[in-house]
Amino acid sequence: MHEHDVIVVGAGGAGLRAAIAAQKAGADTAIVTKLHPVRSHTGAAEGGINAALREGDDWELHAYDTMKGSDYLGDAPAIETLAQDAPEDVIRLEHWGMPFSREEDGRVSQRPFGGLSFPRTTYAGAETGHHLLHTMYEQVVKHGVQVYDEWFVSELAVTDHDDPEDRTCHGVVGYDVQSGEVAGFKANQGVILATGGPGQVFDHTTNAVSCTGDGQAMAYRAGAPLEDMEFVQFHPTTLPSTGVLISEGVRGEGGILYNEEGERFMFEHGYANNEGELASRDVVSRAELTEVNEGRGVNDEYVHLDMRHLGEERIMDRLENILHLAEDFEGVDGLVEPMPVKPGQHYEMGGIETDENGETCINGLYAAGECACASVHGANRLGGNALPELIVFGKRAGKHAAGEDLGEAEITTGRTDETEPGEVDSPVSLGAVDSSDEDAVADGGAVTGESVVEQAVDAQKQRVEQLLEKDDGVQHAEIRERLQKAMTENVNVFRNEEGLKTALREIRKAREDYQDVYVDDPSRTFNTDLQQTIETRNLIDIAETITLGALARDEFRGAHWRQEHQERKDDEWLKHTLISWDEGSPDLWYKPVVLEGENKTYEPKERSY
C-alpha cells in the first residue's frame, strides 16, 4: 500500500494544479493517473483562458457574464470565486513560464470570445491548453510531486456509513496498467478527484478516448451526488468526420458561418441578431442543427465556417494550428476553402457536487475540474471558462486538502433542509441490476483508514479476477458502441420525452448486457481490454444520470432543450438536479440555486445575444 497525505487522481489541468498547491502547502502529495500527465485532455484546449486582467474589465463583469451564460443556474459564490481568483492564477502561470501570446508592449494577449462583454480570453496561440498542461507539469516536476502514471483508479476507499455525509474517504484503489498489479493508495488528509469529463458517453465528441467519466462514476457510487448532469455542451464547430474541435477562436477572430445557400444564417435567420457567430455555444449549435434539419445544411450534415477573409498573415499568427487540424483530420485547407463543421459533444457542465473549496459531502473527498460541479457553468459554459476553473478550483481543493484555511464555504453539499425530493417517470427500472456486487462502499465495519483501503483493494482484486476469469459473453466494445449511439441519437442537442425514454431503455439494456461482459485478453501486462471494460461500466452510470436529469427537467434552459417545453421556467426550475446512488439505485433530488453574490443578487434575465 502506498501512503501519502494527499492523493490526487488525474493529472489534467485541475489535477496538476491541485497537486502543486497541496505540495506547496506542505502536504506529501502524489498524483495517480491513468495517462502520463502530458497526455491529459487538457492539452487539447485551444481557445484560451478567461481572466479579467485589464483596465476596463473587472471580476464583477466576468462574474456577470458567467452568470448570464449559465442561464442563472450557476451558484454565485462559485462564479465569483472563479472571477476573483482567475487573474492572479493566470499571471502565476505566466510566471511559471507559460508562453502566452504577446502584444507589442510585451503584455499577454487577450481576445474576444462568445458571451463575453470584454475581450478577456487570454491565449497562447491556438494551443492554450497544451501550454497550460505542460507548464504545470513542469512545476510538478520542479516540486517533486510523486507521479504514479498509467495507474488506473477504479474505486474509492470509503467507509460504509449509511448516510453519505458521515462517510470518510481514506484513499483509492489503483490498477497498474503496465503490470496488472492492484494496489491501495492511502490518503491521510484527502483524495482529490480530477478525472475530467465523460465525453465518451457520446460517439461524436471533441473529448479524448480516455474521457470516460471515471471520477464521476466512482464518486457517485461512493455516495457523492452528481449535479446537473443533463447539461451537456455541444460545441458548434467540430469537424464532421472525427469530432476534432475547431476553436471558438476562429469565430472570435472573425470567422463566419454559412449554410449551403451561402447565407450568414446567424443573422439572416435571426438566431442571434446582435452577436451573430459569437452568441453562446448552445445558441449556435441549435442554429446549425436547425439549418441542417430544414434542408439548408451542406450535404445535409454540416455547415461551413469560413475564415479566409482574415488573411493568411493573421491566420498564421493566431490560428495556425486550426489549419493543421483541418488539413490532417478533414483534408481541407482553411486558407483556400471554408471548413465543414457540425455540433459535437464538448463539455459536461454537471459533475460531482462540491462547494467552492472543492469539497464534496464525503469527508476527505474533493473534486475539481470538469469532473466537478461547483457550479460555475450552470446550464451552459462560456468558452474559455473551463481552464480558469481548473486552476482556480484545483488550487483551492489542493490547499484545502492540505489543511489550509480558506474560510467557510457558502455553498452547501449533501442534503440540507433546503433540498427537495424529485420524481421522474422512467420506463425501466434504474440503477444496479444485481446490487450485491455493485456496492462500492466498503462494508464489514472496517474502522481504521488502512482497513478501509485494504478492503477496497480486495474487492477490486476480486472484480479484476472475475472479469479475467469469465470466458465468454459480450465484449465491452459492443456495449459501448450501442450506448454511444443511443445517447447521440436521443440525448443530443434536441431532446424530447420519447427519445429520452428510448435512451433509458437502451441504457438498461446495456446494464443487463454488462452483467455478461468478459475480457478476452488474458494477459496482465498492459491489458487495455480490461481497462476499457471497467470504463464502460462507468459510462453506463454516467449516461443514466444525464438522461435521467434530462427527462426530469421539463424546461428549456441553457444547453438543455426540450421539444415539449420551449421556455425557461424560473418559478419551478431555479434549482440544481442531484442524483445520488442510493444502495444501487439512483435517487433524484433538488437544491436551490444560490444567486446571492458578494455585493449583489443576480436577477434572472432573458438570455439573448
Binding site: V38, A44, E88, P99, D471, A477
Partner: protein, 296 residues
Amino acid sequence: MSTQDASAETEDAQTEPSTGSAHQDRRMREKRERQAERDEQAQADAEAAADEEAVQLKVFRYDPEVEGKQEPRFDDFHVPFEKGMTVLDALIYARDHFDSSLTFRHSCRQAVCGSDAFFVNGSQRLGCKTQLVELEEPVRIEPLPHQDVVKDLVVDMDHFYDQMEAVEPYFQEKEEDLPDAEGLEEQRQSPENREKIKMSSRCIWCGACMSSCNIAAGDNEYLGPAAINKAYKFAMDDREGEDLKQHRLNILEQEHGVWRCQTQFSCTNVCPKDIPLTEHIQELKREAVKNNLKFW
C-alpha cells in the same frame, strides 16, 4: 539472440503475477484454444470484408505472458477502408472487431497527447495524424524502434521521460520571490521573443524523434533531440535572464548533451509537430561556443 533472452525472462514472468495459480494456466490454455477459433472467424470476416475496399495491416505482436506471443510476430488485419481513415482509426477498428487484445496507447485522436507514435512503414509517425491513403500496402505497424517493447505497440517510455526531465524543464524563479496575491504583475516578453520559442514549445512528448535518432539509439545517455529542444525553449526565453541561460547552457554542454548530435536530421524529418529540431540543436551548439569564448 535477444529473442532467447526474452523467453528466458518470461519464464519467471509467468509465475510472478499469477503467483503460480493453476487456474491461470488453465485459463490461458483455454483462451488460446478459443483464440485459434476466433482467429479463423476473424479471418473469414476479413475475407468477406476484403471484397469491399479493405486495407491490409501487418501489426507487430508481442506479449511476455501469453504463449504464442512471446516470440514476436506480425498479425494481418483487413480493415474496411473509409475516406479519411487514419492509421489509428484502422487499429481501433481491428481491435474492436477482430482482436480485443491488440494493444496500443492512444487518447486524443488529434495529435496533441503524443501517445500514439508508431513505426509505420519504416518511419516514426503519429497514428492519428497519418492518413492511410498516403501509405503503401500492406501497412506495417511496429512499436517505436530503440525502445523496449512492453506489449504489442506499447513501448517503455520511462527513459524518454527521464531525459526530458533531466534538462530542468521548468522556470527557476523562486516562488518565495513572488508576491502572493495583489501586486503579482505579469512579466513582459516581446512578441519576437515569444515567436522565437514558439516552435520549440509545441513538443507533445511523443518520442518519435528520439526513436529515429541513431545517436540516441547508440548512446543511452544522450539527452536526445526532444529534451534538447525542451531546454532550448527555456534557454531562449528572455524572461529567465542571463544567469539562468548560463546554467541551462551548462547542462546542455555536458558530454551527452548537444555535442552528441551528428546532425542526422531524422528527428526533424519525423517530428509530427514540425519542430526544426536540428536547427535548434545547432543553434545551441553555437550559443555554447560563443558562451565559452566569452569566458576565455
